[in-house]
């Protein structure tokens, strides 16, 4: 230690009128270039430390965020194996070949590589498919469930090449190619002559559900009669039941023209039709040209002979 202990008695001047009272505010200091330089250096050092601290804090926050995200990813993502099986289920007739042609799954594709949303969209792009679901079944299966539209009518259309093609009309009016249906099923479907809109076009097919109801009712209750139906003409049916004179015309093998009111009760009209056909049968089966069931309170029957009777 420098020196030899403290002075006896002490020497400090505290209290009133001490030099310590002269310690004034900082603004009373005397500056010099060196002092300014030192002050600046101290500020730069402080700001540097502040920036460093900000970087460190930022890095810690980022690391924490990244770690948290990584953990979440681990929780939701199972080991991604290649797809080994596709479990295809449909309530209709679409075959596996259609599935292979519709969905694009390359060999060895992993479960997580398969874009299930894109697959669903591709499946539903076919009008025969009403709804589709695609589900990953870990570890290695992909389940595809398809709900198909039910055919109600056939539609004969001419293609661009002039050839006649057959298309299917679903209960909701959707027209589609109709893949996988047995020939017998298609053969039983009557053809439809669509309504011609004012602009000359035939589509869309509006109010087809009402037509389908009629066909379903006949198919279910009068299967023999249904088999004789060949064409359903919608030439006088716009689909708008609010409009007057909306009729559905059926051409069958036994009666060339049967006219139903689209807005009236089908069951009553069919009962009346059955009665007329029974009556005609009892009368020796005279040839009938037209039966109009759309009239209020009665039905008109036009025989080939030109006579018209009301029932």
């Amino acid at each position: 230690m420098i020196g030899n202990g403290t002075e006896k008695g002490g020497t400090s001047a505290n209290g009133e009128q001490s030099w310590r009272e002269l310690a004034g505010p900082r603004r009373s200091r005397v500056n010099s270039p060196q002092a300014r330089k030192r002050r600046q250096a101290r500020w730069f050092k402080f700001l540097g430390m502040l920036a460093l601290a900000a970087v460190v804090v930022g890095a810690i926050v980022w690391a924490g965020w990244a770690l948290k995200n990584k953990e979440e990813q681990i929780q939701i993502t199972p080991p991604s194996k290649p797809i080994e099986r596709i479990l295809f289920d449909t309530d209709g007739v679409l075959p596996d070949a259609w599935l292979s042609a519709t969905v694009d799954l390359r060999a060895g594709m992993s479960m997580m590589e398969a874009d299930i949303h894109a697959l669903k969209k591709a499946l539903e792009s076919d009008a025969q498919v009403k709804a589709a679901s695609v589900e990953r079944v870990f570890p290695s299966d992909l389940r595809i469930v398809v709900s198909e539209r039910q055919p109600a009518l056939r539609l004969a259309v001419a293609g661009a090449d002039g050839r006649r093609r057959q298309r299917i009309v679903a209960r909701d009016g959707m027209v589609y190619d109709g893949i996988g249906y047995p020939k017998a099923t298609l053969k039983n479907l009557p053809f439809v002559q669509p309504y011609q809109h004012v602009d000359g076009s035939f589509f869309p097919l509006r109010g087809i559900e009402r037509v389908a109801d009629l066909l379903e009712l006949v198919r279910r209750n009068e299967p023999k009669l249904f088999r004789t139906w060949q064409v359903v003409s919608l030439q006088h049916y716009s689909g708008d039941l609010e409009l007057p004179g909306q009729v559905i015309e059926v051409r069958s093998t036994i009666v060339p023209r049967i006219i139903f009111s689209a807005s009236a009760d089908y069951a009553r009209q069919l009962d009346r039709l059955a009665y007329i056909l029974e009556y005609v049968k009892n009368q020796g089966n005279p040839s009938i040209e037209r039966i109009d069931l759309s009239l209020l309170g009665s039905a008109a029957v036009q025989f080939s002979s030109g006579r018209v009777g009301t029932f």
Binding site: M1, I2, G3, N4, G5, T6, E7, K8, G9, G10, T11, S12, A13, N14, G15, E16, Q17, S18, W19, E21, L22, A23, G24, R26, S28, R29, V30, N31, S32, P33, Q34, A35, R38, R39, R42
Partner: protein
């Protein structure tokens, strides 16, 4: 792990600004880690006359010391000098309060406060209140607590300075964003490191002869009983030589240190000395007597003024200053200055050797004040042995309960 703080000891002298950096570890360890000094500017006779010039110089010295030590100063201990410093002796008296006439801590505090009560003019400010011995019923005692008596007295040598001058020196330090933790007058700082405990007890006079001023402190029976500043220093000797020999100040300073002696002797009449000694243009011979007579006149003046002050205070009692005179400061390097002191003051005198426990380069008179400042940074100015305030829970309790 002990906490450490870096203390800067700053002495703003007339000819030189000295900065010493000490690292104080805990309460007892001190390492001197850096130092610097530069020639003063804007300072005359220990007083700042040009704040900007002085700031440039002081700040440069502080920054250089910090750079050398590769650290930053935490607090500053500042030396104060100049002829504006004055002192007066005040006696505080109190009647012992307890019915059993036993001096209590409260009585001691009362006596101390009474001694320090003297008001100064608004332009003056206290630098030190230096405690002297207590007396109980006229009987001198070092530790009056629990002594029996009716009347307790204590003397204080109070040193005060001009408020404006003191404030200027504080502003210079604050200019570099440092706070002054304590201020100690140069003579007391030097005395603290140059004297042994026994020398203080035997009585000693420390004379610090700087460039512009000479500070002195007188110890008697271990207490500081007198301090003073003489507005004459080594620069005055140089100036006299410069005028007397018609040479520049620089040459005069070199000539003083090389050939000068603090007293004249008859043999000097026959001896001649060369100004430069290298026979270059301008080099010439001077009679040694002319030089020593000029120096002796100034040195004698310094010691005579000190002697006057000692006599005036009735303190020039050789028996009470048995350890003699210790000379320090840059001018104490002058040959024969101890003899000059001996002749003028009639006391044994010696040039200081500097404290033995510091590096050789710091063991020179120029650093004694700054070393003394570091000494106070380590120990403080309070006398813990004589502190009337009890320490420790049980002592405080006993003080409160008066048991």
């Amino acid at each position: 792990m002990s906490q450490s703080r870096v203390v800067g000891a700053v002495e703003i002298g007339t000819s030189k600004v000295t900065v010493l950096l000490g690292e104080i570890i805990g309460d007892s360890g001190l390492n001197i880690i850096g130092h610097s000094s530069c020639f003063s500017k804007g300072i005359k006779k220990g007083v700042i006359t040009d704040l900007n010039a002085a700031s440039d110089c002081v700040h440069a010295a502080i920054l250089t010391a910090e750079k050398n030590a590769n650290t930053r100063i935490d607090e500053v201990y500042l030396a104060q000098t100049g002829s504006h410093l004055q002192g007066n002796f005040n006696v505080g008296t109190t009647n012992v309060g307890a019915s059993d006439s036993v001096v209590s801590a409260a009585d001691i505090e009362q006596a101390k406060e009474d001694a320090k009560r003297r008001k100064l003019m608004d332009s003056r400010t206290y630098i030190h209140h230096i405690q002297n011995p207590f007396s109980v019923d006229g009987q001198q005692v070092d530790h009056p607590l629990s002594k029996e008596g009716e009347r307790l007295q204590v003397g204080y040598w109070s040193v005060h300075g001009d408020s404006q001058i003191v404030s200027d020196s504080l502003r210079v330090i604050r200019g570099i964003d440092l706070d002054v933790s304590d201020m100690i007058i140069s003579s007391i700082a030097s005395g603290a490191v140059l004297l042994e405990e026994s020398e203080k007890d035997n009585g000693a006079l420390v004379v610090d002869i700087g460039g512009g001023t000479t500070d002195f402190v007188l110890y008697r029976k271990g207490y500081i009983v007198l301090t003073g500043v003489v507005p004459v220093g080594g620069d005055h000797i140089t100036n006299d030589l410069s005028i007397g020999l018609r040479v520049g100040r620089k040459s005069a300073e070199e000539f003083k240190l090389k050939n000068g002696r603090a007293y004249y002797q008859s043999e000097d009449r026959d001896e001649k000395v060369w100004l430069f000694g290298d026979l270059t243009i301008g080099d010439r011979e001077y009679p040694l007597a002319a030089i020593t007579k000029i120096i002796e006149a100034r040195v004698s003046e310094i010691f005579d003024i000190i002697k006057e002050q000692l006599v005036e205070a009735e303190l020039l009692v050789p028996a009470d200053i048995a350890s003699g005179v210790v000379l320090t400061g840059g001018t104490s390097r002058l040959a024969g200055i101890d003899e000059a002191a001996r002749r003028s003051l009639g006391l044994e005198a010696r040039q200081s050797e500097g404290p033995q426990d510091v590096a050789l380069e710091l063991r020179v008179p120029e650093y004694s004040t700054a070393l003394g400042l570091l000494h106070y940074a380590l120990t403080g100015q309070e006398d813990k042995q004589q502190s009337a305030k009890p320490t420790g829970i049980f002592r405080r309790l006993s003080s409160i309960l008066n048991i």
